[in-house]
Amino acid sequence: MLISIFLFIPLITAVACVLIKKHNVSKYISVAGSFALLLYNIYLGYTIYLNRSLTELNGFFYVDALSLLTAQIVSVVGFAAALYSIGYMDAELHAAEFPEKRLRWYYFLFHMFIFTMLAVCVANNLGIMWVAIEATTLSTTFLVGFYNKKPHQEAAWKYIIICTVGITLALFGVILTYHSSKNVVGEIGYALNWTDLLAVADRFEPHLMKLAFLFIIIGYGTKAGLAPMHTWLPDAHSQAPSPISALFSGVLLNCSLYGIIRFHVISSKCLGPNYSCTLLMAFGLTSVIVSIPFILVQRDYKRLFAFSSIEHIGFIALGLGFGGMYSIYGAELHTFNHAVAKSLLFFCGGNLFLKYKTREMESIKGIIRTMPVTGVILIIAVFAITGIPPFNIFVSEFIVLADAFSSGSAFVLIFTSLLIVFLVLIFVGYINNIFKMIFSEPAETVVQGEVSKFTIAAMCFLLIFVLIISFYVPPIMRVILSQISDIIRNA
């Protein structure tokens, strides 16, 4: 029952939110629900820490360290976003950006979104996982187009079209995997369970598996924001309400990446790690490269953050592709770090939007004086996201790069060296764009002060994670990370 309850929490919250008409009540229910989820997740984490993995309903649900980490990210960022939503949505409602009744649906879809993402994490069946990932797209389309104005509709349309196409390709990959397993598992595979498949993956039909993984990485890669399939991402991220952008960037991308990783494990076992690692590295590096010019020259801060997500997903893919024990450890740590830091950035962005009603960086000046708290958090978040020590992302990047250098492969070495050059460029772009907003003479007309206490609370909640992981990784997390490393390396 452990896992089912896990899934029920957001589902019940969602239903409660949509049934209760008064949004003053439903917003607190939403927070309470996500907080319960957070607590429950900690409990679940402890169970996994003790048992390594957990199956339920005849192997329909399966939770191991890898899914647990993703679920943790979902619940942490989910709680922060729920908290943030109160402040953000109230302010937007106050500004009459949308009718009040729509807010019910916002909370409903919000929790459905969380539900689908959790379903991705706990599904053992690869087909169900696919269904869940597609469901994340469906549940969020309306959130992207929440304001229902021209650019939002456009973004929503692009989002659903591109993601659905990608996901469809991924389904093809799933089918091909299934097909390649038929010689081993039998013609009628009643189950497409990951655990069952992995057990016999070394006897799969290799050519089919190759093709299958290709479809998977392109398909789920579309959703994960790997270049050149990333194109929906900046639009959707910039048009969605900020808490949703945070969830997108912090969690949704990781969920899709989680899908890739599951297949990566199977493919590595079937074909040897080289094939899938090379693909991961290629797409990873492309993502990092593609994000550079847009980070260097950018007008819209939310798009900037979005492109930075592409870069980080690329980095994680690279880390997984390098394939060393520590580089996977680092990449997974990076997943968490990025989720926290990027969500924090999007929250900062949301606060800026509430204050200035614009996403143009040029028209925002002197944040440090007008909104000191947001300003300071933004500075920390920017430093964190660009991998400046001592912040958390530096630690994970350092581990990944160190492992890459010690891998001894010339190919990896070239990739890593290029990556480092790109990281520098990205840093330049970030600082150049963001710090102009933070440190400058504010316009006279802007009123000083923060917009909402809830938003600040949510930001502080994430900030704690950023700061703690910078200096201290809890032992439970370290165990989980090394378990993930073992899972991915088939050790």
Binding site: P372, T386, F405
Partner: protein, 677 residues
């Protein structure tokens, strides 16, 4: 014991930082508390350094916090200790100085973050030189950068300060990247996942030559940026003037020395044995930084920028010492290597002292006149009566005028250079001689530069209202500067003590003790400073000087006992003197602008406006500026290129969903083809 002290000092710094943050209403009180705590912590650190230096013990601390992979480990050996000593002394004085200097900002701006960053900055520097783990090193290294970045952009309303901060941050990031990559490469051979420095200490033996060479260059560029060697100095003349003086004092005085620390750690511990050409490259870079740094300083009018360029020059001189030490070491001339190292480290200490003093005095000037442009100063010697002699001491010291400390290290550098004749390679021999000439030229140019800096700002008549109404700064500011001036004199007169201390470091680092060649030798209660090449005794020079002074004064008074001085206006061809008649800084350095015009590429515009009849000049506008060649021909085109490429590439996001689908489609098709093939 030392561990407790170390933790104590960290705690004090951290407490100080928090105090500054906590006080919202009484911000100055918070700041004072934090400065005082910083001063106490610095005292603790001085105690640590001295204890380590004199007990010859290396102290290790491992703090078992659960980091992702590492433990926070620190090591204080004598090399660290000598740097801790320099850093803490300057920190102490800077903290005390800040008590006065920050009055400049009272009620004008939010001061909470100043004390916070200031304390963290001091703490980070201490941690940098003690970190015994690559990851910890990188963390504290960047911590140092970040907090100093915030101190640089403290007055962020000024766009120049912002630009300075950004350039500083970019360059520092590149610096961190290079150092990290150097660590990665070394790590790929030792493969100890704790990243402990102890594992790197044997890296030099197991690494192949090619990797070692790569690491050499990575480290050179990485730490070179922080040290500000040419042409990587870009950030330095921007950031140092932008920071408040009490910060630039620390930045220029000791922060850039952490890079020197890095050089020594890498080149003398991790990467040994080294081929001779490494040392030669360091030597050449040192010499060129020295000469170029001072040439640019010479033409500066902003006193803090001038001092910043002068830091580039001094880093060059330090690098000459270190490069020589490397050369000697690779030829296995260990005693000489140790001598050159002593020269280099002595100059590190010296530069820390006199550069902080200079920046402090520049701060005093800014405090009382609110300008940094020396063209607008003048006549300050009569208004800042205490600051002026302090500044003079600093100026004499940096110009290596005996008997002050600058001369001692310069002399040691010369001695090490001259000992280059023992090296078997002719090229190196000639090179050392040429470097000797370069140092001599640099020395002369430094003297010119600081004659200008002192003369134009303190002497003659005040050239502006600011200078006219200058008042002496608060007592605490010049008292703290007085301590530094005292140190300048002390380190000049009693060099043997300091040299033997550095010799301890060398004994550990190079495994050779040359204490017997720098023996003390008593005569007239003086101790000489001897090497195997020559000897000097600045103490006796001073004694002789005082003696001669007394005799001269006595004799002169005997000749004409009724001597009187008449005070009268300066003779200016019959017109009554005006401030405009005084020589300006631009004019003073003009001969150099003409002689070195190939380097400076000066541009000047003269615009004359006439009154109605064309014979009477109404006004003349004279604009003269020099082209910073590295900025113009290297950095600017590079950044333009990157930006234009980015701008061109951005069209791929056309906004059309069809095109986006095309990307996916093409990716799919190409990958399918590639896999089939």
């Amino acid at each position: 014991m030392i561990e407790h002290l170390f933790v104590l000092s960290i705690t004090l710094f951290a407490l100080g930082a928090l105090f500054a943050l906590c006080f919202y209403k009484w911000q100055m009180l918070g700041n004072y508390l934090s400065f005082i705590l910083a001063a106490i912590a610095s005292c603790v650190n001085i105690a640590i350094a001295i204890s380590v230096l004199f007990n010859h013990t290396a102290e290790r601390f491992n703090f078992l916090l659960y980091h992702a992979i590492i433990t926070y480990s620190f090591l204080i050996d004598s090399l660290s200790a000598i740097f801790i000593l320099a850093i803490s002394v300057i920190s102490l004085i800077a903290s005390v100085y800040s008590l006065g200097y920050t009055k400049l900002y009272v009620n004008k701006r939010d001061m909470r973050f100043f004390g916070f960053h200031f304390n963290l900055f001091l703490l980070a520097m201490i941690l940098v030189v003690t970190a015994n783990n690559a990851l910890v090193f990188m963390i504290v290294w960047e911590l140092m950068t970040i907090v100093s970045f915030f101190l640089v952009i403290f007055e962020y309303e000024n766009p120049f300060h912002r630009k300075a901060g950004f350039v500083y941050l970019f360059m520092s990031y590149i610096c961190a990247v290079f150092i990290s990559v150097a660590f990665f490469i070394m790590f790929s051979y030792v493969k100890t996942w704790t990243f402990d420095f102890d594992s790197f200490r044997y890296a030099g033996d197991i690494m192949p030559a090619i990797s070692k060479n790569i690491v050499f260059f990575l480290v050179l560029i990485g730490f070179g940026i922080k040290a500000g060697i040419f042409p990587l100095h870009l950030w330095l003349p921007l950031a140092h003037p932008a920071a408040p003086s009490n910060v630039s004092m620390v930045m220029s005085g000791v922060m850039i020395k952490t890079a020197i620390y890095g050089f020594i750690r890498f080149y003398f511990e991790f990467l040994t044995p080294s081929p001779p050409w490494w040392g030669i490259i360091i030597l050449i870079i040192g010499a060129s930084s020295a000469i170029l740094g001072i040439l640019y300083a010479l033409l500066e009018k902003d006193i803090k920028t001038l001092l910043a360029y002068s830091s580039v020059e001094n880093i060059g001189i330090i690098l000459i010492g270190i490069g020589l030490s490397m050369i000697f070491k690779s030829y296995n001339l260990m005693a000489l290597s140790s001598l050159a190292m002593i020269a280099g480290l002595y100059h590190v200490l010296n530069h820390a002292v006199f550069k902080s003093l200079l920046f402090g005095c520049a701060g005093n000037i800014y405090y009382s006149t609110h300008t940094k442009n020396i063209e607008q100063l003048g006549g300050l010697i009569k208004r800042l009566q205490v600051t002026a002699p302090l500044f003079l001491v600093a100026v004499l010291s940096i110009s290596a005028i005996p008997p002050l400390n600058g001369f001692v290290s310069e002399w040691l550098i010369f001695q090490s250079l001259l000992n280059g004749f023992t090296i078997p390679s002719v090229i190196v021999k000639v090179l050392t001689a040429i470097c000797g000439a370069t140092v001599a030229l640099t020395g002369a140019l430094v003297a010119t530069c600081f004659v200008k800096a002192f003369g134009i700002s303190f002497l003659a008549m005040p050239r502006s209202e600011y200078a006219q109404h200058a008042r002496e700064v608060p007592v605490i500011m010049y008292v703290s500067m007085g301590l530094l001036a005292g140190l300048c004199i002390f380190m000049g007169l009693f060099p043997v003590k300091i040299m033997t201390t550095i010799n301890h470091v060398n004994t550990e680092l190079l495994g050779v003790n040359i204490a017997h060649t720098i023996t003390s030798y008593d005569w007239l209660q003086t101790k000489t400073l001897q090497t195997n090449f020559s000897e000097i005794s600045l103490k006796s020079v001073t004694v002789f000087g005082l003696m001669f002074f007394a005799i001269t004064v006595g004799a002169i008074t005997l000749i004409n006992p009724g001597f009187t001085k008449k005070i009268y206006k300066t003779w200016t061809c019959g017109i009554s003197p005006e401030p405009r008649f005084g020589y300006t800084a631009t004019a003073f350095s003009k001969p150099f602008r003409i002689i070195f015009s190939n380097l400076y590429r000066p541009r000047r515009e003269i615009e004359t406006t006439y009154t109605v009849p064309k014979y009477f000049v109404k006004s003349i506008v004279y604009i003269a500026e020099i082209t910073p060649i590295f900025e113009k021909y290297f950095y600017a085109p590079l950044s333009r290129y990157v930006l234009s490429i980015s701008n061109k590439v951005r069209w791929i996001h056309t906004g059309s969903v069809h095109i986006y689908l095309v990307y996916i489609f093409i990716t799919l098709i190409i990958s399918m083809l590639v896999i089939g093939w």
